[in-house]
Amino acid sequence: MMNNQKFIPELHDIGKLVDEKAKEEVKNKIGKAWGGHVFVDFDFQKFGISQTTSPSWWGQYHHKIENNKDINDWDAIPQKFRLSLFLLILADHLASSVSRATLERYPGIPKLMPKNVGLKEGIYKLWNKNFYRKMEEKEKFWAAFKTTDDLKILFNEIENCQSGEEFLDKYRDYLLLTPEDKSVPRNITSLYTHVELVGKIYRVLEKNARLITEPNGTIVIEYNGEKVKTIKEAEGGKRTIGNTNIDKGKWQARLIKCWIKFPHSFVRLRDINLLRKREELVNCITSYYKDEVVFVTSDFITLFLPPDQDLKEILKPLLDWGFYIEVEETLADLGILNSILDRKTLGARKCVEEYEKREDCKKKPKEEFENQLNVLNSRDTKVYRRYLMSEIPDEIQPHICDICQQRRGIERIKETIREWVCEKCQEIRDMGEPFREYATVWEEEGVKVCWFKFSLDQKKLEDWLQNAFGEYVDKIIRKRKNEWKNIKEEINRRISIKTNKENEKNKLIEEAKKLSDKEKKKTMGQKIKEISDEIKGIKFDIGKLENEKNNLRNEINELELSKVNFRPLALQVDFNKDYKEMLKEFWYEFDGIEDIKKPIAEYDELGVFKYSPELTKMVIEKFLDLFKQYFPNCASDNSSPISLSLSIANIKYPIREHWGFFERSNKNFFNVRYYRVFEDTYTKDELENIFEIVEKAINVKTSSYFLHKLAQLEESLQSEIHITVEIFNNRKKNPEIYNLFSKGIKPSKLLNLYKLLGGGDNEIT
């Protein structure tokens, strides 16, 4: 008898949380375990428990259905659960980090796992490669189910779990440590995110699909007006390149990236309440559309939507408050839809149109882009860019709102200052003073303040993830190519042995022909036979090696393809989670320090402190520490997705100017502006190297004197040669500065940080 639970897609990969040891135990106990990570073949009776009866059980069949099998022929699945399983399979494909088109033919791929990365079966984070090893040191392991007794708990989950959220909460720690797939190169995404994405995508599809019984009694599944009977029919081929597998799927969906922007200018401190309003509205949208919203940050939302769902309706709360949304939307077959398909499509279009002009395109033959475009066009792939704004009139009679400049302002006079502020912006002001000390105590003290902001650039993240994944796969490919080369050499060596043996054998045959003595002939015959057997053995080995070589070649080709079929969506989600964790930990460290504030409690990216060299140093050091902890293998130069910006000025300096600095697009890992003094950017290496020197220089007068001298020379002479000579002449006195300069770090960079962190007499006035 079936129980009355819901079908919970999040449970489909629960088998991935089982330790191999438990599998072995079961095998020893009842003679047979189960295949892969699903329990379809599990012998419940022999194990001594009854089979689960919940609808979620049928999720276990997600790898058992062939893509081109008619849903009417899914005999093992009761009809009432076929729709759920159908949608689950599609969602699982969409949420995987590498297209399922890749690597499926090679079940032996797990052995490719690099031996030197210190992994067992835990997740391999591209930005934190030793993450799992560090977790192991803390005695945290991926497997949630380690014994045969634990298996009973697992089956109980399938039977009684009430919701995907419950499952994700309960097994969060394990799911975050377990990769989506333990095989390389798919071991880079957490099972948590994969399962979470599968659940979301499943429910979006479910809201828009229905099972229909046709007049002839057959069943079909309809979505967006398109009826299908097979997975293949719904999603089409799975590749975006080549001449095969380009068949169009009938079902399309949209992945939509939304950057939340605003035209507002922060005239007064209270105007930054807009950031709080943004948090509130984003949270409101996320909770109302929790399935459609794939992931979210304060200023960015990614949505998964069917073709006809109104995006403006979803984002209406933001538009109503004067935010505008920059949208990049990709519409494609489910078989190829992924979060960087927009860039691939636009890139291919650009390279076809501007091939002769663009050096970056010439790395590949034009034909390759044309073929790619042919595939994408034949599958009706569309990429749109849109701006969503609330309706605004053709003209506004003066005065326009000083803050948003989108509505008519109403005259407001406060302390003899006349302003024109619209009702919405005034409402935001009226949300209260973000923190009282700023406008009272700090302002009265006339202090300098340092505003700071962490940023995560989603476009840079996409770039970096694709490169990092490429490098990861290339490393494996290099290893496989070496193995391939070794095998090839071994084959050649054996061929050469075989040739020698054959020559020897022919020689003996010739000699044997000349022999008249029967006995000698017999002995010779025996010898020839022995050599023939040896040759046979060598031939057999060569055959085996040839097979191995061909398999390796195929694996290499498939690994090359995995780079093309990479789907970074789940990885982006994981990265964003770590980023949010890092910010939380940052603020935890500064909890209780009076002079540093988070102006908007709900918004972790923005902070401000009363400027002092000590606090500045603490903030930078903490950021460096946490970055090393969370993202040690991530880019940390101008391609870094994560950055920290500092803007220092007198407390009277307008906040909108600090914000303007934070919003600049050409950020490096660390950016600093000291109003009217200097502005500079640093890579992490530069920052760390300089930090070390500055620490020493603060205590040694000669070094600081020399730094000042260099900066003055640079400013007055603008001569790099002169500076080089000066540094070279003083290399013995100031070897650290000489070392930095030889690494290409300008003296002004060093001096600026020195001034910023030096304090006391060295503080900038």
Binding site: K382, R385, Y387, M389, P654
Partner: protein, 208 residues
């Protein structure tokens, strides 16, 4: 699309943002229709649609502090600091380009050449002295891309600008007596448009 292209050289300039309040006034890095059209009208007495931008790397920001005097009360108000643009590095002048639809500007061609006029704010303090050093006709191919100028929506068509997905803002349009006026809706930088390539920051290949 045929356009009249004016090459300008400018000593220093303030094109103020609309933001008010506070004692710090920011400065923008585009030449909106409202600014250049006003200057052309004032100097040449003609009303022609025009848009422009400063050429990258020829300018940088600096600040100027001044105090407005209330002549009636004979007192100085609180000093105001304004950002302004000045020539950068080896450049002795800020370089800018201004475009006028050819059909509207052809008759002005000779008059414009070598003309000197003032552009932007705080002219009385010496800001905005500009010289048109070159006037030429250009043919710029209309492509899809991201707009890099601020142009009144109602005038966009005259430049061959067709909006696909606009980012709107408002520019001030004075009335015929230059006493009052209204804020008119305008296409702002970042809008996805079809436009002459010279007005685009980037050519794009989005579906429409």
């Amino acid at each position: 699309m045929k356009l009249l292209e004016l090459h300008l050289e400018i000593d220093s300039i303030i094109v103020g943002e609309r933001f008010k309040g506070g004692t710090f006034r920011p400065c923008q890095t585009t030449i909106p229709s409202s600014t250049i059209e006003g200057a052309l009208k004032h100097h040449f007495g003609v009303e022609v649609p025009a848009v422009g931008f400063f050429e990258e790397n020829t300018y940088e920001f600096d600040e100027f502090t001044y105090s407005v005097r209330d002549k009636f009360l004979n007192v100085s108000k609180m000093p105001i600091t304004t950002a302004y643009l000045k020539p950068k590095g080896i450049h002795r002048k800020i370089k800018a380009k201004v475009y006028i639809p050819y059909s509207r500007g052809a008759g002005l061609k000779n008059e414009l050449k070598d003309a000197e006029f003032q552009l932007g704010a705080l002219k009385s303090k010496g800001f905005g002295r500009s010289k048109i050093v070159k006037v030429g006709e250009i043919e710029s191919e209309v492509k899809q891309g991201i707009l890099k100028v601020k142009v009144f929506e109602e005038e966009a068509g005259e430049f061959g600008v067709e909006s696909i997905s606009p980012v709107y803002g408002y520019l001030f349009k004075p009335d015929m007596f230059s006493i009052g006026g209204v804020y008119r809706r305008a296409l702002f930088p970042g809008s996805l448009v079809k436009a002459p390539e010279v007005l685009l920051g980037e050519v794009t290949y989005y579906d429409e």
